[in-house]
């Protein structure tokens, strides 16, 4: 499986109603290049799955989409990522409203060492989204409900979020993200630390969230990609090899590397 020089992405990386469009994105960690000229559209209200062998740059690319890479000193991003017509890498853009619009859920559940209520209320509080206590209560309840956690925690909203089980913690993190009411949600292997039952719950949740949000999800599991996404993008060694509808990728992949990956020849 050799590296392909200047690979032009196979399939359909672009779409008509793009929420986010990346153009010629390159990422360097110091001297080392991690992403090579990736161009990709993410459509409104679609779920796009990013797959590929580990270390191929899925997380790196995902973190470009809300400039989380800014927190890593040595990380340099070039190219253009346009959200609703504006380049988010424009020096004038402030990352705060950007990240409020493009939320993120991480691989390992990372609830803050606060109560469940305060975890969910964190975003609305810092952004001043609620005008009153009642307002805030409502946001918290709705977010927990949407995340499918309300029934389980409504009696212990004021106990620490870190006391929940792994799956519950991850749903709490999702609730925390949707409490800000973003437009796009980025998820980096949100189920990799969870058991199958918790995973099923999250997958169900993603399906529901699609109505309202645009979602990009990195996943290691091809079954998961097949279950939750409409389009799938395959990354290999920092390059975007192929993007197609999920059905097509898993039934008739265009590129041999994609085929090799989904048939389990490496990963």
């Amino acid at each position: 499986m050799s590296i392909i020089e200047n690979h032009k992405t196979d399939g359909k990386p672009f779409c008509d109603s793009a929420k986010l469009s990346a153009r010629d994105v390159c990422v360097h960690y110091g001297e080392k290049q991690a992403i090579f000229d990736v161009s990709l559209d993410i459509g409104k209200n679609e779920v796009i799955a990013l797959i590929g062998p580990s270390g191929c740059g899925k997380s790196t690319f995902l973190r470009c989409l809300n400039r989380m890479n800014d927190t890593i000193d040595i990380c340099k991003v070039t190219g253009e990522i346009v959200l609703d017509g504006g380049n988010i890498y424009d020096p004038k853009v402030d990352v705060v409203p950007l990240r409020a619009t493009v939320g993120m859920v991480f691989q390992k559940p990372n609830p803050f060492p606060k109560t469940i209520y305060d975890n969910v209320a964190y975003g609305p509080r810092i952004h001043g989204l609620a005008t009153s206590r009642v307002d805030l209560d409502e946001i918290v309840e709705k977010s927990l409900q949407r995340a499918g956690l309300w029934a389980e925690v409504k009696d212990r909203l004021h106990s620490p979020g870190t006391g929940l089980s792994g799956g519950q913690q991850q749903r709490l993190c999702i609730a925390r993200t949707i409490a800000v009411d973003p437009e796009v949600i980025l998820m980096d292997e949100p189920c990799s630390a969870l058991d199958p039952i918790a995973t099923a719950k999250i997958e169900e949740l993603i399906d529901e969230l699609r109505e309202k949000y645009t979602i990009a999800i990195v996943t290691h599991s091809m079954q998961q990609a097949a279950r939750v996404s409409q389009r799938t993008a395959y990354f290999h060694l920092g390059q975007l090899i192929e993007v197609n509808s999920t059905d097509k990728v898993f039934t008739t992949p265009e590129h041999q590397l994609t085929e090799a990956y989904i048939t389990g020849r490496f990963g």
């Binding site: 809300n66 989380m68 927190t71 000193d73 990352v95 705060v96 409203p97 950007l98 990240r99 409020a100 619009t101 939320g103 993120m104 859920v105 991480f106 390992k108 990372n110 609830p111 803050f112 060492p113 606060k114 964190y122 975003g123 810092i126 952004h127 993190c173 925390r176 993200t177 800000v180």
Partner: protein
């Protein structure tokens, strides 16, 4: 023979015994015997048995010589002195020692008999000591040397002795703690037989000056330590008021904001502040800061004492800044990056993340760090000894002069001490309080920090 001569003799014996033992093993081996261990092991074994017993004896001798000599000497004192009481005996003994040193004085004293006896005694013990030590050296050497046989397990024996020595070394730390406790406890108990603990802990007047003669007024002194405790707390509070915010903010800035080149300069610079001896801070506080504060106070129309609590507290605060900042830095760095990411991912600014996620997450560790800093402030001696006063005022006014527990310990123990006087013993009672309080603070703080670290490991 004095101690250094004997010590040198033992060291020479060490080398000699090693060579003798090794050579004997070599000789045996060359004669065709199959030795159990290497020749060096036999050498080491002989060396250990030759030097350890005399060293131990030398130590015991050093510990008990003065007491035994004094005991024997007491019997030689004139009856009148012996019956007069302990203090007089002690005085007489020290006179006898002086007489023995300078024989020109001896003729004129009623203690000359005892002094002559002492000279005699010293000569005899010195001879005895030398003889016993040399005997031990040769006994150890001879016995062990003869034990060297092909089937002797020298290596095992050497290793088990060395292991015991290693264990003893690490036990010294525990012995030190016990030693501190014992030294303050015994004298403190004697103090509490003269002054009630209630008066000591809750009394509000501190004037330990015992009168020289019994008929002078205030002959008993008064030992209410409350002004000392409040003085200590006042100065520590001022120090914490400076050190905690500045140290914490500096740690936050350096770990979350500063570029790496800034960090590389600023961190060692702050550490230099921690390496400066406290006596230097004391000098700075007493000669620069205190006059400055007094001057400012005067222009502002305030009445500032020249040994104000403020000056000592301020400078102590400066001294503790690097202590707080390096401990907080460790603690803040232990907060996992994933928590920061979670906050940034929701669109929080850096300061929001620090204030609402990092600090709360690090809080137990920071509390531990602050407790260690408080313990440090309470136990700090030189700055207060030089810049704070001796006046035991019960006040919360930082412009007044206050005194602290440590200052009083120093004052009571420096200079001529009369033993068994409540004044001297009071220092040990204060030491006991200081030791217990700081030990408790350290113990809890170290536990908290340890728990905190385990949480994120």
């Amino acid at each position: 023979m004095n101690y250094s001569t004997l010590l040198i003799a033992v060291l020479i014996a060490l080398g000699g015994a090693y060579l003798l033992g090794r050579n004997r093993a070599r000789t045996l081996a060359s004669q065709g015997a199959k030795m159990h261990s290497l020749p060096t092991h036999y050498g080491a074994l002989v060396a250990l048995w030759t030097t350890l017993p005399p060293l131990l004896l030398l130590l015991l001798w050093a510990v008990f010589e003065t007491r035994v000599v004094d005991m024997l000497l007491t019997l030689q004192l004139p009856e009148s002195i012996r019956l007069a009481g302990e203090a007089d005996v002690r005085l007489a003994l020290s006179k006898v020692h002086n007489l023995a040193k300078d024989s020109s004085l001896m003729a004129e004293s009623n203690l000359s008999g005892a002094a002559a006896h002492l000279v005699d005694l010293q000569a005899r013990t010195s001879l005895l000591k030398g003889g016993v030590i040399l005997a031990l050296i040769f006994a150890g050497l001879g016995l062990t040397w003869r034990r060297i046989q092909p089937d002797m397990r020298a290596r095992g024996e050497v290793e088990s002795i060395v292991r015991k020595l290693l264990f003893l070394s690490s036990a010294i730390a525990v012995l030190t703690t016990l030693g501190i406790l014992a030294s303050v406890l015994f004298e403190a108990i004697m103090f509490f037989q003269k002054v009630s603990p209630i008066e000591f802990l809750f009394g509000t007047t501190w004037s330990p000056q015992v009168a020289l003669r019994a008929d002078q007024s205030g002959s008993s002194g008064s030992f209410g330590a409350i002004p000392l405790f409040t003085g200590t707390l006042l100065i520590s509070a001022i120090a914490m008021f400076i050190a905690v915010p500045v140290g914490l903010m500096a740690a936050i800035y350096l770990s979350e904001y500063a570029a790496s080149n800034v960090r590389q300069v600023a961190k060692p610079a702050l550490e230099v502040l921690a390496g400066i001896p406290t006596v230097v801070y004391g000098f700075f506080a007493a000669l620069t800061v205190a006059p400055l504060i007094r001057q400012w106070g005067e222009t502002a129309g305030l009445d500032v004492s020249s040994e104000s609590a403020l000056a000592a507290g301020l400078v102590m605060g400066i001294m503790i800044i690097p202590f707080v900042s390096s401990l907080s830095d460790d603690v803040i760095n232990a907060v996992p990056q994933s928590l920061r990411d979670g906050s940034y991912g929701l669109g929080a600014t850096k300061s929001e993340t620090v204030r609402q996620v990092v600090i709360p997450a690090a809080l137990p560790g920071i509390v531990g760090a602050v407790m260690l800093a408080v313990s440090r402030a309470i136990g700090e001696t030189m700055i207060v000894a030089m810049a704070a006063g001796l006046a035991a005022n019960l006040t919360a006014n930082p412009l007044d002069s206050v005194t602290t527990v440590t200052v009083q310990i120093v004052t009571l123990l420096v200079g001529d001490q009369e033993f068994d006087s409540p004044k001297t013993l009071a220092a040990f009672a204060l030491g006991l309080v200081l030791f217990i309080v700081t030990l408790a603070l350290n113990f809890v703080a170290i536990k908290i920090v340890q728990k905190y670290r385990e949480q994120y490991d």
